[in-house]
């Protein structure tokens, strides 16, 4: 094989190996820059996605507010008490308008586990991860003060937040909030029973 041919072969082999080497570097070289992509392969598509940035809208968001006064299909609130937890006079409902059954309790436990437990803990004593580690003052749901709350008051707290607690009406639809109310009532009842047990 002539020298020229050898050179050509070496160049070819190097050229062929280049992507592999680059790919390897992408994996192991440390850099503050984002990784190198040789083939974008639809990584970045020209479409608006949820929670993304927009160069068009003045607030830089792809997500828009629904126009005030519009009503989406399935979100007509014919029963206002169900979504506000208040009676027509603006007073909190004494009892939940949603009948408590096993399905509701299961749903409530499930949603509580996702949205409430990090602060209020599994038993509802306010000793969740956040209160333990970040020393966030958290309400003990088993406290007699909260046992005395009406269902409507608990619902209102979840809906609009209180003190450091944020509003949860956004991730939780009204029915789910009533499910959590039912679950909190269940925890309070269980706690009362346990204390009675202990007192005996």
């Amino acid at each position: 094989m002539s020298a020229r041919a050898t050179k050509a072969v070496v160049a070819l082999v190097l050229a062929a190996a280049a992507p592999t080497v680059l790919q390897g570097c992408m994996r192991v070289c440390s850099s503050s820059e984002p990784p190198v992509l040789i083939n974008f392969s639809m990584f970045n598509q020209p479409k608006y996605k949820a929670q993304a940035a927009s160069a068009f809208f003045y607030d830089g968001k792809t997500m828009r507010q629904p126009v005030a006064g519009t009503i989406a299909r399935g979100h007509l609130h014919e029963d206002l008490a169900l979504v506000t937890g208040m009676d027509p006079d603006g007073k909190p409902l004494a009892t939940s308008p949603v009948a408590t059954d096993d399905a509701l309790l299961a749903r409530g436990a499930d949603r509580y586990g996702i949205y409430c437990q990090p602060c209020h803990d599994e038993r509802g004593e306010g000793k969740g991860v956040l209160s333990e580690r970040a020393k966030v003052p958290t309400a003990n749901l088993l406290d007699p003060k909260f046992v005395a709350y009406s269902d409507g008051q608990i619902f209102d707290t979840i809906t609009n937040g209180k003190g450091l607690m944020a509003s949860y009406k956004y991730p939780l639809v009204a029915h789910d909030r009533w499910a959590i109310v039912a679950h909190v009532r269940g925890m309070q009842k269980k706690n009362a029973e346990q204390q009675q047990e202990a007192a005996k």
């Binding site: 639809m42 598509q45 997500m63 507010q65 005030a68 399935g74 956004y170």
Partner: protein, 982 residues
């Protein structure tokens, strides 16, 4: 035995056609538009690759930008649906619009609204593109300089005071037809404030003749409401009621319902000049010039009189054309008196409409198959008003001209010379979605808000009232027509929300808020369907007046509404421009449609440039020979040849408005056609993807006599799909590898009923909108690179002068159980899913195109270029976030809307329940006004698709290949009149 053909090229075996029929991709399909060959391209790419380095190859940083104030009841990634209403040609279409995080992305029909009943059409689907059109007008302009609404308000206050002083004597407003109660209320207020002001309503395709005809026959301002599901015999006189009628969605639904049961099918007769989809649906079609319809109607009345129908005053006359045809139609109408209906086309003169109303009354159809409803407060187009206004403008009597929407400078009758006379007004104000031909005439251009951005209301044909809910705040600070009217009237800005609520307060009465919210939610006011009035004594003498129409001599020119860009208002939509016109399959153009006989006589071939001359006016246009076109008639679609439409619509096609005058709005006689020399490239999609004369479409008549391409074996239809032999003396079908069984989970499948399908194109645009399908442009279409995932083939049979039968066939991916494409993919980019879907993994695809070559149905589409790379920011909002936007070099095809199936499956799982039949619907199925598409789980014995698959009419495409398609067809059934079929 019937031979089907799709183009004259195929029928004649022309060398051009022979050259393409054996190729999967057309000649040059792999070449770049400017002629750089693939090899050169690779060289260039290599050079740029080595130069560019790696700087641009870093993964882009994506930021998460959440809501600060999250709206209630909304989760990012979970779409919402809002009921709203689209004002549409004097009708109102109830829609349900999908909104992703507050951005409308997809249009669907509102199943609670009588005008759509859950379906939609291509124009409704296109509303998304129109909303996000990057060429929409963005700012207030005065003489081309950027201004604000506040500047305009200051300007208007001075003019307002002047016009209050002269009681509006020099003020004229041109509006579009509207059925909005709020607009009617504001116009009344405006006329109170400016008693001398003129409000003129104009639309180039305004259905004025039908209204005038009914006025002549009954003396009332009424509109017809057809109940085609009650009709056994339908006669259409030059009326394309399945496509062009404002109420076409409801009429298609009812018409198809009347054909569902082969034992009790309706029968459709059509007499028309230019082949339309209604003509294609017809059991019997008679091709006669539009100018001869009046004479034909008179002959029909005479014939009916002979049969004993009381048509007083008719004493013979008229033009018979085909005595056998006429006699058969008349007998059928008489035999089905009370369950028959006659419909006349919008371009026919008022006299024909009056006579048709009288004939319907004489046959006892009024109140049964056709009823009449009051037109209420609707503003309807009147050409006489526009003519008077043009006269006053010319005489300098108009000081202030306000043009609200529409595009009169482009589409007004040519003899009015509207653009020139409008410029004589001192103050010219224009409100429009686009800076177009009319804006060029105005000194103030104000951006109009799209209906998806504004509050409003509308009334549908027959009475249903609904509110227009905005889906998003105006993108470009636009104001709606009602907001501008209120501003003109009061010289103050008033929000549309308040204006609409004020109108609705007396309508809804007590408990307003609750009833208002319910109306918004449902998308229609419950109980607002007015009791349709029956015909108030039609004047029979109107029929005899038809005798004044002479039989046409020589050639005529028929002005047709475009099935894709309508009157030009949809011109700038790349979706609509690329949508093949259903009959001619022409994209990105209009053409002078001419019969084969006339073309042969004049020596004209497809694509030849011809001069169309009417009197002293003439235009140049490309000719297209259309089978079934009436001899002596040339048809041309309006809405093309625009000069200021935007980047997609400018310079596309030929402007037929230049030949259209106030006297000849429908059609004109005395046309001369001469060859102009030169040719024009027409991007026609129908010669691609030949099916090589196999048994693709099947039809039979109700008596069971079949037509199919292979012919003579339709008795096997029922077994084909099920037997092991692929039918017809084929050796047993054996698969070379073990076949998979599908025994778990939902197994998706589809059926398409060719007997229901009318070929209206709604599914094609619905699919394009749902699946982020790019438009590729005329040049790419001529190379066979159009990207539609569902195409609608149409096959002719018989002679090109008078095709015997024409069948539409929508073709999406067949989702074969033994998919041939999967066997040849070297990188497993197309694989089979658990639910029976033939899936595409875009990231794996390296673009070998082997799959497409091996697909017997030719349903795969390849991204020859990065069609989506430079998508404008606003159009990025129109894309479905749940569907990948594909890049260059990737194969794609119908996915059965897998994102919808996944969502339905997941929702059922989260809800801890079984999925219901009909919960997962594909976009095409959802949009179909004819309900021709069934989709569902074939493992569910009770599902509609299972029932549909068990139909004796079911067959699979190319079943002899053992590909086992999941998509099946139900054969077409014709209901010919035995008297005529002999």
């Amino acid at each position: 035995m019937t031979d089907y053909w799709r183009s004259l090229g195929e029928l004649e075996g022309s060398p051009e056609f022979e050259a393409v029929r054996h190729r999967e991709f057309l000649e040059g399909a792999a070449d770049t538009p400017d002629g750089i060959s693939r090899r050169t391209m690779l060289g260039l790419m290599g050079a740029s690759l080595s130069l560019s380095g790696l700087a641009a190859c870093r993964r882009p940083v994506e930021k998460i930008v959440p809501y600060v104030q999250a709206p209630e009841d909304m989760l990012p990634g979970i779409p919402q649906r809002y009921a709203t209403t689209m004002p549409f040609r004097g009708n109102a279409l109830g829609l349900l619009v999908v909104s992703n995080e507050g951005r409308p992305t997809k249009i669907e029909g509102n199943e609670l609204h009588p005008a759509t009943q859950g379906a939609s059409n291509a124009f409704a689907q296109n509303a998304i593109y129109e909303l996000y059109d990057p060429d929409r007008s963005r700012v207030v302009l005065q003489g081309g300089a950027e201004k604000t609404w506040a500047d305009f308000l200051t300007y208007w206050k001075t003019l307002h005071a002047e016009h209050v002083a002269d009681a509006g004597a020099g003020l004229a407003i041109v509006t579009e037809p509207s059925t909005s109660p709020t607009e009617a209320r504001l116009v009344t207020l405006l006329k109170q404030r400016f008693s001398q002001a003129r409000v003129v309503t104009w639309a180039p395709l305004g259905n004025e003749n039908r209204q005038a005809g009914l006025r002549a026959a009954t003396g009332a301002e009424i509109e017809p409401v057809y109940a085609l599901d009650q009709a056994r015999v339908i006669l259409s006189l030059d009326g394309d009621f399945l496509q062009d009628d404002p109420d076409a969605i409801r009429m298609t639904r009812a018409y198809s319902a009347g054909r569902r049961d082969p034992a009790a099918m309706n029968r459709l007769y059509v007499a028309e000049s230019t082949l339309s989809i209604t003509g294609i649906a017809a059991d019997h079609r008679l091709a006669i010039p539009s100018g001869a319809i009046a004479g034909f109607t008179l002959a029909l009345a005479t014939e009916l009189g002979k049969l004993g129908v009381s048509v007083a005053g008719v004493s013979g006359g008229g033009t018979v054309f085909d005595a056998k045809w006429l006699s058969a139609v008349a007998k059928d109408l008489k035999a089905n008196a009370g369950t028959s209906v006659i419909i006349a086309g919008a371009q026919q003169p008022p006299e024909v409409h009056a006579a048709v109303a009288a004939l319907n009354a004489a046959l006892g159809n009024a109140g049964k198959t056709v009823s009449y409803a009051s037109a209420g407060t609707a503003a309807r187009s009147r050409v006489a008003d526009l003519q008077a206004l043009a006269g006053d403008l010319k005489a300098g009597k108009i000081k202030t001209l306000v043009m609200l929407g529409g595009n009169p400078a482009y589409d007004a009758p040519a003899d009015l010379d509207f653009a020139t006379v409008a410029a004589k007004a001192a103050n010219r104000i224009r409100v429009g979605l686009f800076v177009d031909e009319t804006s060029a005439v105005a000194d103030w251009h104000l951006p109009q808000a799209h209906f998806l951005e504004s509050w409003g209301d509308a009334r549908a044909i027959g009475g249903p009232l609904s509110v227009i809910q905005p889906l998003i705040e105006p993108l470009f600070a636009g104001h709606s027509v009602i907001e501008v009217l209120a501003l003109l009237e009061s010289a103050e800005e008033k929000p549309g929300y308040d204006l609409v609520r004020e109108t609705w307060k007396p309508v809804l009465g007590g408990d307003f808020d609750k009833r208002w919210e319910k109306t918004l939610h449902d998308g229609v006011l419950a109980g607002s369907e007015l009791a349709a009035q029956s015909l108030p004594a039609a004047d029979m003498s109107t029929i005899a007046k038809l005798a004044s129409f002479k039989a046409p001599q020589g050639l005529e020119l028929v002005f047709l509404p475009s099935s894709v860009v309508y009157d030009g208002s949809a011109s700038n939509s790349a979706w609509m421009q690329e949508l093949p016109e259903p009959v001619s399959k022409l994209t990105w153009d209009n053409a002078a449609l001419i019969s084969k006989t006339d073309a042969d006589g004049l020596g004209i071939h497809d694509g030849d440039l011809v001069t169309l001359a009417l009197g002293d006016k003439s235009i140049s246009a490309a000719a297209l020979v259309l089978p079934g076109q009436a001899v002596g008639s040339v048809g041309i679609a309006l809405g093309y040849g625009r000069t200021a439409a935007g980047r997609a619509g400018n310079g596309v096609g030929f402007n037929a408005y230049l030949l259209r005058t106030t006297k000849t709005l429908g059609f004109a006689s005395g046309l001369t056609v001469t060859k102009a020399g030169g040719t024009h490239v027409l991007a026609v999609t129908h010669e691609h993807w030949s099916q090589e004369g196999r048994d693709i479409v099947r039809e039979k008549d109700v008596a069971g006599h079949g037509h199919s391409a292979a012919g003579g074996h339709d008795e096997h239809d029922a077994h084909d799909a099920h037997d092991e032999h692929g039918g017809h003396g084929h050796p047993p079908l054996v698969s070379p590898w073990p076949e998979r069984t599908y025994e778990e989970g939902p197994q998706w499948a589809m059926t398409i009923d060719l007997n229901s399908c009318v070929g209206c194109n709604a599914c094609v645009i619905a699919c394009q909108s749902e699946n982020n399908i790019p438009s590729v442009g005329k040049d790419q279409v001529t190379r066979g690179r159009e990207m539609h995932w569902i195409r609608i083939d149409r096959y002719f049979s018989g002679r090109p002068e008078a095709p015997e039968s024409i069948v539409f066939q929508p073709v999406p991916c067949m989702h074969c159980e033994n998919a041939p494409c999967e066997q040849v993919c070297p990188v497993a980019a197309t694989v089979h899913g658990e639910t029976g879907l033939n899936e595409m993994v875009y990231n794996r695809c390296i673009g070998t195109r082997y799959c497409s070559n091996n697909c017997p149905y030719k349903v795969r589409r390849f991204n020859f270029y990065n069609f989506t790379k430079d998508t404008p920011e606003t159009l990025q909002m129109a894309y479905n976030p749940d569907v990948t936007v594909r890049a260059r070099g990737v194969m794609e095809k119908c996915s059965y809307c897998v994102q919808r199936l996944t969502r339905a499956t997941r929702d059922a799982k989260l809800g801890n329940r079984d999925m219901q039949d009909g919960e997962a619907r594909t976009a095409c199925q959802q949009a179909c006004p004819a309900q021709a598409i069934e989709f569902g789980d074939i493992r569910d014995p009770k599902s509609r698709v299972t029932a549909s698959k068990a139909s004796p009419r079911r067959y699979d495409l190319l079943a002899e290949l053992n590909s086992k398609p999941r998509t099946s067809y139900l054969s077409r059934v014709r209901n010919p009149n035995p008297e005529l079929s002999a």
